[in-house]
């Protein structure tokens, strides 16, 4: 039963299984284990990124399409919620309308892009998506009447999932029972369902064909698979999941702007997470997103400690200054490519084979 839930894709490494269980339990009880607004925000961001990265892995790791336009769909999802909430007010209906609209837009766009991906070579396609994504970001900041321009949109959501809503005056286990908590669990459930769905898709016969296409498109066509259909379907599915991740982000932040959901930075983070976690494995997305988001969120705090420890070495403390946290993020990029060529999942699985 449990095996079916995970689509018979067992972690194939005890350590990996343990890690996964830790992550899932950690996220499930995050509000109680890690109190505080910041910790909860980090946990929520982890959830969003797990879905986003897993959806990207469907495209990159399984189908072998390098696209920089994935954040575009993430952004569409976020703007869908943001715009509808701004225009139609803070109701559940508005949210649904926004989500539905965003999904339709993503569907159409990703369909077009998916078809286009067959026309040009892989590198060119990657570069074109890079350009398209940056154009889309420009467009979002230009259409300020709709999108709020560079300033973005701040909006309200239904009372039930807003921080001001308290459904019990008594804190439970030291945690105040408010709308923020409900919102977190809404995201949690969504993330679990979406990840399981993705797991199912990549472990279906369809998913196997995607891998074949990644390996040798020409031969896949020759043995009878219509590459166009498979690729386009994968592109569309991945875009739709990214849209849902975007909606999750907007619901949590109750804010959206071009930098928040459309920036190239996010795209690069997603790429890195896929690689750190391990390409071609949904579990990689889960582990990678968790580690990366936590590292990114607490790197500055960590550097503050390191910096004060190194305060008598001026040049070192200049490098360890929290202002230079990006420097260390860059180092993390480089090191992870050096030391995790097959990602954490790949590493753990080879270890388990020994």
């Amino acid at each position: 039963m449990l095996k079916r839930l995970f689509s018979h894709d067992s972690p194939r490494s005890h350590l990996l299984a343990m890690l996964l269980i830790t992550v899932v339990l950690g996220l499930a009880f995050a509000p109680f284990i890690f109190p505080g607004v910041k910790a909860l925000s980090v946990a929520a961001k982890v959830l969003v990124f797990i879905v986003l990265v897993a959806s990207f892995d469907l495209l990159l790791g399984y189908t072998g399409i390098v696209s920089f336009a994935h954040t575009m769909f993430f952004g569409i999802g976020a703007y869908g919620i943001a715009i509808s909430a701004t225009r139609l007010g803070a109701g559940w209906g508005a949210m649904l309308v926004g989500l539905g609209g965003a999904l339709v837009v993503s569907l159409v766009l990703s369909f077009a892009i998916g078809l286009f991906s067959l026309r040009v070579r892989a590198i060119f396609f990657a570069m074109i998506t890079l350009a398209v994504a940056s154009a889309f970001q420009t467009l979002a900041s230009q259409l300020s009447d709709i999108t709020g321009g560079e300033d973005g949109l701040t909006f309200k959501l239904p009372e039930l999932i807003s921080p001001s809503f308290e459904f019990s005056d008594e804190p439970f286990l030291g945690v105040s029972l408010d709308g923020r908590l409900l919102c977190y669990y809404l995201l949690f459930v969504a993330a679990v369902v979406l990840v399981l769905a993705l797991l199912r898709i990549v472990n279906s016969p369809f998913g196997r064909v995607l891998q074949a296409i990644r390996e040798n498109e020409f031969r896949a066509e020759a043995i009878g698979y219509r590459v166009v259909v498979y690729r386009t379907t994968a592109a569309v599915l991945s875009a739709l999941f990214a849209t849902l991740a975007g909606a999750m982000l907007a619901i949590w932040l109750r804010y959206n702007g071009p930098d928040t959901s459309l920036s190239f930075e996010i795209m690069v983070d997603v790429l890195l997470i896929v690689v750190i976690g391990g390409m071609g494995s949904i579990y990689g997305a889960v582990i990678g997103a968790t580690l990366f988001v936590i590292a990114q969120s607490y790197l500055q705090d960590l550097l503050k400690l390191a910096n004060s420890a190194a305060s008598d070495l001026p040049w070192l403390s200049a490098l360890l200054s929290p202002d230079r946290w990006l420097l260390w993020l860059g180092v993390l990029f480089v090191l992870s490519v050096y030391y995790f060529p097959t990602g954490i999942v790949g590493r753990l699985r080879t270890r388990a084979l020994r």
Binding site: N203, G207, N216, R219, I223, G224, T233
Partner: protein, 255 residues
């Protein structure tokens, strides 16, 4: 019945296949011979749809295949193994074959994309793939990745993929090239078995004359893209065009 009519393709000014009309009946093995660059592989490419003909048509059992994509032609019953090994290098041997089995059954586009079942539930596909591997002596390597196989084993796998498709027409492009003399018989045996099934059409490109002599029911000769001889093996091999241009018996400039 597989049939080509006036099949022609030009690359720039170069005519690689030049108005080849030929029919291949079920139950016969036709060997296609000719010098290097004669257009044999290109002819295959035109039949199986990897290349679009400049002129002429291909039909199978009276149904035109022209304009169909390679995958559609595969579903129509054409199966093809490649001259230069062309597999899924980072997947396992078993997975390679299983994918080919799947292409003809569940998950093929005719039956929908099949994205909501779990692949390991399709036990029959895996059993069939296993069976095929046993037939070509690769069962012991089923979990090795293809990239780590020696060249000869990759050639065998190439043939296994073709067998998995269970087509009506089998097209072999030098199936034993680079294969050890002790291993080649495994492939040749397979082909012999296929010949017994009288409903199958078999096309074989091969440079080894002893193999051709033994297996072929009929030989056609391509030279500079054109069909220059067609008929009974012994006769064709004895014909001057084959002796000179191909076997180089009376040394004269080839190609």
């Amino acid at each position: 019945m597989l049939e080509t009519k006036d099949l022609t393709i030009r690359f720039g000014g170069h005519v690689a296949v030049n108005g080849v009309s030929c029919a291949f009946a079920p139950g016969t093995l036709t060997a296609i011979v000719g010098p290097n660059g004669a257009g044999k592989t290109t002819y295959f490419n035109l039949i199986s749809g990897q290349l679009k003909a400049s002129a002429g048509t291909v039909s199978l059992d009276g149904k035109s295949l022209s304009g169909m994509s390679p995958s559609a032609r595969t579903h129509a019953g054409l199966g093809r193994a490649f001259q230069l090994t062309n597999l899924f290098p980072n997947l396992t041997v078993l997975e390679n074959v299983r994918l080919a089995v799947q292409a003809t059954r569940a998950g093929a586009h005719r039956h929908g994309l099949n994205l909501w079942s779990i692949w390991s539930d399709h036990k029959a596909l895996i059993r069939r793939a296993d069976q095929l591997l046993a037939q070509i002596n690769l069962k012991s390597k089923e979990y090795a990745t293809v990239a780590s196989l020696p060249h000869g084993d990759q050639r065998k796998l190439e043939v296994a993929l073709l067998m998995a498709l269970e087509p009506k027409v089998f097209m072999f492009d030098e199936p034993t090239a680079g294969m050890n003399a002790a291993e080649a018989p495994v492939i040749l045996d397979l082909i012999r078995q296929l010949k017994k099934d009288k409903s199958k059409t078999i096309l074989l490109v091969e440079h080894k004359m002893d193999v051709v002599r033994e297996l072929a029911d009929r030989i056609i000769v391509l030279h500079n893209g054109a069909l220059v001889a067609d008929g009974d093996p012994a006769e064709v091999i004895a014909s001057p065009v084959v002796q000179e241009a191909y076997l180089g018996v009376a040394p004269k400039e080839a190609a």
